[in-house]
């Protein structure tokens, strides 16, 4: 069962875990990306390409479900303004095999960083700057191609 959400509402980690547990299997892996307060950042803003984001996240979840034995996969990505410490993205996988759950979770967060049309902007008080893409995210995503 695949669940994808692009939402302004805060992540509800307990609810996402409960929904994944409905699949009845033995293990749930998750990764949550959080807003860091580095360099005096006060607010993070996430812009998306509406329409394309949901479709790309669904495709990533389907690819993970083809590659690993998953009973369920969830991707929730927030958009709009968020505070330091808030969750930006939640990726969760449920599987009878813990290695499958953990690897699929790593795959999803790595690919999401390069394959989903979101853009981060950091605010420090009244000043803002668009976050630059990182080369290490490209190589993290590519390692799944060579396997």
């Amino acid at each position: 069962m695949i669940r994808v959400s692009v939402q302004e509402a805060p992540l509800d980690i307990a609810a996402e875990h409960r929904a994944l547990a409905q699949s009845g299997v033995g293990g749930i892996a998750s990764f949550t990306g959080l807003v860091r307060g580095d360099d005096g950042v006060t607010t993070l803003e996430l812009e998306q390409y509406p329409g394309m984001t949901g479709r790309m996240l669904t495709r990533l979840a389907e690819q993970a479900a083809e590659r690993w034995s998953l009973a369920a996969a969830t991707i929730v990505h927030r958009v709009g303004p968020m505070a330091v410490g808030d969750g930006i993205v939640f990726v969760g996988t449920a599987s009878a095999h813990r290695a499958d759950a953990l690897e699929a979770c790593a795959y999803l967060i790595d690919r999401l960083k390069t394959d989903a049309p979101f853009w981060k902007r950091e605010w420090q008080g009244g000043e803002s700057r668009w976050v630059e893409a990182r080369a290490c995210d490209d190589s993290a995503a590519e390692r799944w191609d060579t396997k």
Binding site: Q48, Y49, V89, K113, P117, F118, W119, R121, W130, A133
Partner: protein, 84 residues
């Protein structure tokens, strides 16, 4: 007519999120569209001066800048993505 979408600092430089455009017939690839847009005014010049900083999607699929526009209806131009 093409629907062109701009995101992040490209949107801010251009000063709009979306527009309908009919580029000249000489524009057949995404890169040529970017080059042509760069001549359309000050904000455009700023946004499209360095194609190396840009990424694109045709009809909501990522493409490299050298692909033909073909029969695409929606072109999006934006910086490399930074979600997650």
């Amino acid at each position: 007519m093409l629907t062109i979408l701009y995101f992040a600092w490209v949107r801010e430089a251009v000063g709009k999120a979306q527009e309908e455009i009919a580029p000249p017939p000489s524009v057949t690839t995404v890169a040529e569209l970017v080059g042509w847009l760069a001549t359309q005014g000050e904000g455009y010049a700023e946004a499209f001066a360095d194609p190396g900083r840009l990424r694109a999607a045709l009809d909501q699929e990522f493409v490299s800048l050298d692909v033909p526009l073909g029969s695409a209806r929606e072109v999006a131009l934006f910086p490399p993505v930074t979600g997650g």
